[in-house]
């Protein structure tokens, strides 16, 4: 066995993973005076790593590549100035997919994790999202309800800022909102079409600030949230939580450190975290009083399952055999329409902060529907993007020539607000067929750590939901005068980045085929919350039942998955967990 370097320092809290959950725990604990060690599997980032306002003009080659590859090799896409690392395909850290399943696991390896890249959709769960079984008759109830989390949604919104407009909808609880930006022209059409059909559309709820706050600049409407924000105008755990927390002097960041195993003592308590220093490949340990898992749900489950000992023969937290089980993602279905009469609208800098409108789920009575939980709709299209290399290809590919007629053809094609797209994001009900386990064939990653194998199967609930997405999207888009584009977009492609063979397609019927599980990158569950070790991994405070000095602060504890994107609930839940942890430490209970 390789020599393991261990330090004698015992850290009060070791936080594994620096995304929405880990960033929140870091900030809350540091503000409460607790010293923490934050472990991240990827590199540290600085504000210079964010490129949201980068222009082709910033490079002498403007994106053609340092050897003019775009034109010499006839590449399809211009070179983009890379922002921070987001690697859905980590060749050194593979995973496998069981025969017959399709799953994609989008991971991020850098400080801030996926908060560097996510769409910033920031939605509160509804009361029924916590009580699926008792209120909707399916899935599982969480041992906590909306009232337990609501104060933490408030705290999160005051810190990070969320745009929106109060509407009083039970399917989309209101929050403390930043003033939203105006609707774009095509969004007015969507609003009016919905209104005609009795559906309430409203301003999008994005983790973006339109007024300066907490030392962060107001949004400058570049529409490039996915490349980070140099003005800190959107939420990313790095510059909103971790960098400010570091200023307290109570945070130590351990970057490029891949957690391998939780080390336990004879009593079963975790005393250290074993990790790989990726810069040297050496295995090291940090000693700890408590551990917070915030590596993203499946990664946290993997760590628990790989932490076997005589007291934890199935892995830490897994005495009930629940770790890895009840994995969910979001149901994704897309449809778009062409709206020719929009051609010719005067162009303007329309990026904004992405979509400025969304459609919350509009049914409260499901008695006439063949699926029990709903979805919301994210709206795209109708925009005028800042030109990049290749920008004119659509126009000059269709209209030959040169001179002023070519310029006019490009302007006409650029006034491309003729397309409106809908992306449905729907509830996924946990089932026995969707789970992660340690690969039974013994596959290990570059560091020798056993990898996960995923199992996935959509149920009729999700497939029926997707059919209703298609029907209702068609109705809305045709009401505004659009012609549906075919074929309908799928949520995600088949197969996985490890090259695992794609499983058989879902049964062919009149329902849309859904893409691979994990394709929407909303995978939650695996470390679910419940009332006992027999039915769950963590308790109502996200504390592991059978190992009380271990906590979960990512999507792992989700006992069910509403249609809302999970980031807001991850933050609120992590905030609550951090306050509880600090109090338990103060009392000497952990």
């Amino acid at each position: 066995m390789a020599q393991v370097n261990a330090t004698s320092t015992v850290h009060d809290v070791v936080i594994i993973g620096s995304g929405a959950g880990g960033g929140t725990v870091t900030k809350v604990l540091a503000d409460l005076g607790v010293r923490v060690l934050l472990m991240e599997a990827g590199p540290m980032v600085t504000m210079d790593d964010f490129k949201n306002l980068a222009s082709p003009l910033d490079d002498w080659h403007r994106g053609a590549g340092a050897a003019a590859e775009l034109y010499a090799a006839n590449q399809g896409q211009p070179f983009q100035q890379p922002s921070v690392v987001f690697a859905p395909s980590l060749t050194d850290e593979p995973y496998t997919v069981a025969p017959g399943s399709q799953f994609r696991w989008g991971r991020s390896r850098c400080l801030g994790g996926r908060t560097n890249h996510y769409s910033r959709v920031q939605l509160r769960y509804s009361d029924y999202d916590f009580k699926n079984q008792s209120m909707k008759g399916v899935g599982f109830d969480w041992p906590i309800g909306y009232a337990d989390i609501a104060p933490y949604y408030d705290k999160a919104e005051r810190l990070i800022g969320v745009t929106g407009r109060a509407e009083g909808l039970s399917t989309a609880p209101d929050g403390i909102f930043q003033t939203p930006a105006s609707f774009k022209p095509h969004e007015h059409l969507v609003y009016k079409a919905c209104e005609k059909l009795g559906i309430k559309a409203t301003s999008s709820r994005q983790a973006v600030i339109t007024s300066a706050m907490n030392g962060r600049d107001a949004c400058v409407y570049c529409g490039q949230c996915g490349r980070g924000c140099r003005g800190k105008s959107n939420y990313a755990s790095s510059y909103v939580q971790i960098f400010p927390a570091m200023e307290t002097g109570r945070v130590t960041v351990l970057a490029n450190s891949m957690a391998r195993e939780l080390i336990t003592d004879a009593s079963g308590k975790v005393t250290a975290v074993s990790y790989i220093d990726k810069t040297t490949g050496e295995e090291r340990q940090v000693r700890c009083r408590t551990v917070v898992l915030s590596a993203a749900a499946p990664e946290s489950a993997r760590l628990l399952l790989n932490s076997k000992s005589s007291r934890h023969p199935q892995g830490v937290g897994n005495s009930g055999g629940i770790v890895g089980k009840y994995l969910t993602d979001t149901v994704g279905f897309g449809l778009s329409a062409t709206v020719p009469y929009m051609r010719g609208a005067a162009p303007f800098s329309s990026q904004g902060y992405g979509s400025h409108i969304y459609i919350p789920w509009w049914h409260t009575d499901h008695s006439k529907l063949d699926f029990p939980l709903g979805f919301h709709v994210e709206v795209g299209g109708g925009g005028f993007a800042v030109p990049n290399l290749g920008f004119g290809s659509a126009a000059y590919g269709q209209s030959e020539g040169y001179g002023l007629p070519l310029k006019q053809a490009i302007r006409d094609a650029y006034g491309m607000g003729t397309n409106i797209s809908f992306s449905g994001r729907g509830s996924c009900i946990p089932n026995e067929n969707c789970y992660a386990e340690i690969d039974p064939d013994g596959t290990k990653d570059k560091w020798g750590i056993p990898v996960l194998r995923f199992h996935w199967k959509w149920s009729d609930y999700e497939l029926n939901e997707a059919r209703y997405m298609r029907e209702s999207f068609t109705e809305i888009l045709e009401t505004l005068g659009g012609t549906i584009n075919t074929p309908a977009a799928r949520s995600a492609g088949p197969g996985g980045p490890t090259g695992a063979p794609a499983g058989p397609a879902q049964p062919v019927d009149d329902r849309p085929q859904l893409g691979a599980g994990g394709g929407i990158i909303h995978e939650v569950g695996c470390v679910r919350m419940g009332t006992s070790a027999a039915n769950s991994v963590v308790n109502r405070f996200c504390q592991v039942h059978d190992t009380p000095n271990v906590f979960s602060a990512d999507g792992g504890p989700f006992a069910s998955h509403g249609d809302k994107n999970p980031t807001h609930t991850i933050i609120a839940l992590a905030w609550r967990t951090a306050e509880y942890l600090a109090e338990e430490m103060r009392k000497g209970n952990v």
Binding site: L53, S55, L57, W60, H61, R62, G63, A64, A66, A67, A68, Y71, A72, S182, F183, K184, P185, H188, L189, K192, A193, K196, C219, V220, Y221, C222, G223, M342, G344, A345, A346, P347, F348, S349, S350, Q351, G352, F384, V386, P387, N388, L389, F391, G392, S393, Y396, E400, G401, Y402, G403, L404, L406, K407, I410, R411, Y414, G417, T479, L480, G481
Partner: protein
Amino acid sequence: MSELSRRDALKSLATAFVATVAVDYVLAEEAHALVRQTLVGGVYTPKALSPAQFRTLERLTDLIIPAENGKPGALDSRVSPWIDSLLAVNDQLKAKYVTGLGWLDTAIASRGAADFASATPAQQTALLDLIAFKRNASVELSPGIDFFALARRMTVDGFYTSEPGIRDVIPGGRPPLPQFVVPKESVDYVISRSPFK
């Protein structure tokens, strides 16, 4: 006004702008852009092409994306220096341009001009009217058609990633923006043509 003399006029205007002489706002914006380009780029010395080849390239890009209503086209947007810089780092691409620009000279010589750059605008456009369209493909013209497609692609890319090109399609400019403003005329335009009018 010829393109070259108009370009000179704009440069004079740029000088006037620096001297804070009151000028028309739109033209002043263009002058400002020219000043900025000049300050940033200075006078360009070709790195890959010969001076004669570079003049041919300048004229070709000017014809593909001309100035319009007093607003700069490819010539004043430093598209040719950008292309030449790319040719300087890729011999394969440079060979295509050297061959293609030479083809233009040869082709226009058979039509009575000394070379492409010194030909009359009518002679130049007569040749482009042949090679800008794939339907004219032939043993004689296909090399010119293929080169023109490459030059047009790069000229369009170069112009619309320049400040004048961006302003050509986004009159209000690009981010960062202090506030998000949707032109009422854009909203009225789509609503008036929609089922909700």
